[in-house]
């Protein structure tokens, strides 16, 4: 039971990053391989802000603003020019971005790991016989809270509606007067915010270093594919599910040990994909020729 709870906390982190991937995929049809590195970079920015004397929550908020601006800028400057190019060209651009951001972080902040503070008190509660750490509760609450806010944004605001419309039919959206380019950039901005949150929630438990988000990114990919790469609900459910599965696998299946957690999770994913290539919640994308 305890494993399930802590699995939910890490699952919420995967869900946030998976949602970021899905957001971008739905609108731009790009899998952003640099999503994890963007998250890592913004987490460094948060660290820098705190290092210079800011307290946690103001730094947290300012980081989100910076992440948003960064995400918008990346779309406008780097992705827009290759929007019409082949999928492989776009994948390569995001991989180039991954390499460059990773290098840049190492360049600016060095490769030594840094301690990143947690905003939550280090306490454990006893809930119906299960020991639950406040860290887990906090991480879960922040991630799920963000997801709920985002859901409300997409469902109850005109801007959110327009972003959904653009993902479904960009040409018709233009005819409705929607500035499609900016909607895409907005999507990248929101994805970067989600990534920043995932990064800041991850950093306290694994320490801050330039490779910190690589594993998280892979779990997020897995979660997104598991849930269906074009389904936001799927990404969230997939993330939570994966968090729990990975934790249980690592704990109870002895032969796997901690080393094989990741591969076994990916194996589960592969099996799901073979049975249901569109993921649990996704629908088949019909390519128009």
């Amino acid at each position: 039971m305890q494993q399930v709870v802590s699995g939910l906390a890490s699952g919420a982190i995967y869900a946030s990053l998976a949602l970021a991937l899905v957001l971008i995929f739905r609108s731009t049809h790009v899998v952003n391989f640099a999503q994890g590195e963007m998250a890592m970079f913004t987490t460094y920015i948060a660290w820098e802000l705190m290092h210079r004397g800011m307290s946690y929550w103001p730094a947290f908020a300012l980081t989100l603003v910076i992440a948003f601006a960064g995400g918008v800028a990346v779309e406008r400057v780097l992705i827009r020019p290759v929007e019409q190019a082949s999928p492989i060209a776009i994948v390569i651009v995001t991989i180039g971005l991954l390499i460059a951001i990773n290098g840049l972080a190492g360049w600016i902040w060095g490769a030594d790991v840094k301690a990143f503070p947690s905003p939550f008190p280090n306490k454990a509660y006893d809930v119906a016989g299960v020991a639950v750490s406040s860290e887990d509760i906090g991480v879960f609450a922040v991630c799920v809270g963000t997801v709920v806010l985002l859901w409300a944004f997409f469902n109850f605001t005109t801007l959110g509606l327009a972003m959904r419309a653009v993902a479904i039919n960009p040409v018709a959206s233009r005819l409705m007067g929607v500035r499609v380019g900016w909607m895409l950039a907005l999507g990248w901005g929101l994805a970067a915010v989600l990534g920043a949150i995932a990064g800041m929630m991850t950093a306290p438990s694994v320490f801050l270093d330039p490779t910190m988000m690589l594993t998280v990114l892979i779990y997020a990919f897995a979660a997104a594919v598991l849930g269906g790469i074009n389904s936001p609900v799927g990404a969230v459910v997939g993330g939570l599910l994966l968090g729990v599965i990975v934790n249980l696998l690592g704990r109870y299946v002895d032969i796997l040990g901690s080393e094989l957690r990741l591969p076994s999770a990916l194996f589960v994913l592969l099996v799901v994909l073979l049975i249901r290539p569109q993921g649990l919640f996704g629908h088949v994308v019909v390519r128009r020729v």
Partner: protein, 236 residues
Amino acid sequence: MPLLELEGVEARYGAIRALHGVSLTLEEGEVVAILGANGAGKTTTLRAVSGLVRRRGEIRFAGRSLLRDAPEAIARRGIAHVPEGRGIFDELTVWENLRMGAYVRISRRELKSEAERVFGYFAWMRERSGQQAGTLSGGEQQMLSLARALVSRPRLLMLDEPSLGLAPTVTQELFRVVKQLNAEEKLSVLVVEQNAEIALEAANRAYVLEVGRVAVEGSSDELRRHEGVRKSYLGY
């Protein structure tokens, strides 16, 4: 001053020229039809007005050039384009589709009364506003696409092949609404149709396009009597 005026408009898709100098006018309150065979450039003409295709020449709307405007800016000026294939947002509900129609020009408060106005023409939409648009029938989707365009209270409505793939009765219903809109609200309409008969019945005037040029133009009555038009497009 005409509401819409095209002068020697050329358009191309990559290397292929689709329009070779199309000129036409549409007065305020008129219904004008564009007829022609497949590939004559009818759809491209509408896309040129909307800015969905690269074009040269001159296009003026209410006296101002549209040539430098992007599609989203043109929509803001009051041209509602019901595209070929309807272009509805199939994963959104009927009501959300209508909200998208009101994305520009209409405030959230005005949306209610505009929607009521539209429901006056399509009563079924009121009860089914929560339904996912993708689950509507083809005719219903076409009506939704038209309704979505009307919600923005356009100055010019452009319809691209509204009859495509619809049962004759549904097509008639659709054109009945268009005629009613024109009569009661003085709505100006530019309609592209392959079904010349029904289009000429609704239109005051019409242009016949052949390979990217205007081949014949005139009032609906003149065209109905025109021997070439009769043979090629009306079939008698």
